[in-house]
Amino acid sequence: MKTDEPVSPDAASHAVPPTFTFGEPLLTCTELVIGYNDKAMLPPINMVIRRGQFVAVVGRNGSGKSTWFKTLLGMIDPVSGTIARGHPEMRSAYVPQTSGIDSLLPLRARELTAWGRLRNWSFLWPFARKADRDAVEVALETAGAKAIANRPYRELSEGQKQRTLLARLIATEADMVLLDEPTAAMDAVAERETMQRLCLLARQRGLGVVVVCHDLEVAAEHADVLLFVDRETSAFVVGDARTVFCHPAFRRQYGDEYCHRAPEGPHRGSDAR
């Protein structure tokens, strides 16, 4: 898949094609309780994330999104419940905000992408192999970041930074990827393009993609499943845009406007249980 040209709406937009079916489960949360110091933040979470599925996580600041994210990444232990991986060799990748990479760091886009190949880093043979170098070039090409590969990351525009981070994501050959507000500093066009690229990645590479997103309309437009997290009302709502936007807890935080505008339609693939 090459994504350096603008993504055509037909190819990537919004809805899952009628024939598309999601793949095997990548991650299964069963009665998962997240929190700190044994204190639960949210009610027990039950959901499955599958191959090819694009999940957008929405909610206000401090609602528990980051805690859930960190728990999925294994950085925080769950208070109780389990997170089961689809298979033992399953690979996850994490894409920080574009601002998450220190602007002092004199890194080129290619070097940053090459970090995506460090999964098999070993104390005994810690050097890059030819296969790693080749994979980096392919990832840069695929993400449309080849032309900026030798430019300092800190000098890139937000859209170019995001392409570099996507190249790194592709280089990891992950099965599931978690992105923390990937479009936070972007203008509307770059935001839409990035979401479309992520959609394509999910569909064509069969990745499970989980994105923390603050733009509710963009989230509703692109995601197969929306996930609303709210600590205040102890809500964890999974479903399509209508299910989530019309949930009382959501309406309490964001009002009724989104519910009225939410498209009618079938649930597109969540296995919320």
């Binding site: 990444l73 294994g74 950085m75 996850s92 990748a93 994490y94 920080p96 998450g100 990479i101 220190d102 002092l104 760091l105 004199p106 890194l107 080129r108 070097e111 970090w115 995506g116 460090l118 999964r119 880093w121 104390f123 810690p126 050097f127 890059a128 300092p152 790194r168 990891t172 978690l178």
Partner: protein, 287 residues
């Protein structure tokens, strides 16, 4: 009447005397220059100051134990032990104590600095050595000090060049490295212990002040040039070497204290790098 030999002639004739301190300055400057890239990019400049200060306290305590308690401890052991202790303290998660990292740094720096002065006050006969440790006034290094610096330098450089990719990833994108399954805590520990050991042994041989300068200013000079990351490490290493050796030569020829000279040369390199950067930017604009 016989002509006075020039300072160069004297330097060359007496080179055997200066060889060891020059070698020591070369190794310490180079390795600390390399590590300085981590120190500066991870915003740990004050860590280096606090660890160097603790090494000074370690030496003072070693002297104190020998003189007043009859318990002989090699000063280099004292320096390294206290430097490592400070490093471990600074690796702790300060939020557990509801503190910021800066608070811990301030505590380590002030406590070790104050304690070194107090202990130094009780060991008047070694006060010259204490001065040497804190400000780098020592002109000569003993063969043992040179050997210790050499062993530590070789070990640290081999480990850091071998694990370069892992340590840089774990240092500069911690979460990304954790998610990809890298042993981040271990790699972080390797880095911090390397800094602790190098600062400890080098502070004993050269003094805390030049050690602080090598482990911070070298990277600042290299970062000015806006090079790729591997080249930044290389230039910082070179800057450390030039500061160490050049500072020693400067002190010899102009009759200044060694540590202060090495520190000033390191700062001058930052100025030079700033000038070079300005020229490069001018040239780019002119194109």
């Amino acid at each position: 009447m016989l002509a006075e030999p020039s300072q160069w002639q004297q330097f060359i004739e007496g080179f055997e005397l200066f060889r060891d301190p020059l070698l020591c300055a070369l190794m310490a400057g180079g390795v600390l220059g390399f590590l300085s890239v981590y120190v500066v990019l991870r915003r740990m400049v004050f860590v280096s100051a606090a660890v160097a200060q603790s090494a000074g306290l370690g030496v003072a305590l070693a002297f104190y134990m020998g003189i007043h308690l009859g318990f002989e401890v090699e000063p280099v052991i004292g320096a390294t032990a206290l430097a490592l202790l400070a490093t471990l303290l600074l690796m702790m998660d300060p939020t557990r104590l509801r503190l910021t990292r800066e608070s811990l740094l301030g505590l380590a720096y002030a406590l070790s600095g104050g304690a070194a002065v107090l202990v130094g006050d009780r060991i008047a006969q070694e006060s010259h050595d204490i001065q040497g440790i804190l400000f780098g006034t020592a002109v000569l290094v003993t063969p043992e000090q040179l050997r210790t610096v050499a062993i530590a330098s070789i070990l640290v450089m081999v480990i850091h060049l071998w694990w370069y990719r892992g340590i840089t990833f774990a240092s500069f994108d911690r979460i990304g490295a954790l998610v990809q399954g890298l042993p981040v805590r271990l790699l972080d520990g390797v880095l911090m212990v390397s800094i602790g050991v190098m600062v400890g042994v080098c502070a004993r041989a050269l003094g805390a002040l030049p050690v602080f300068a090598f482990s911070t200013l070298s990277a600042i000079a290299a970062l000015m040039l806006d090079l790729r990351l591997p080249w930044t490490f290389f230039v910082a290493t070179l800057a450390g070497i030039v500061s160490g050796v050049g500072g020693y030569m400067f002190a010899y020829f102009f009759d200044f204290p060694v540590g202060g000279s090495q520190t000033v040369v390191a700062a001058m390199l930052v100025g030079l790098a700033m000038g070079a950067r300005a020229l490069i930017q001018l040239a780019r604009r002119a194109r």
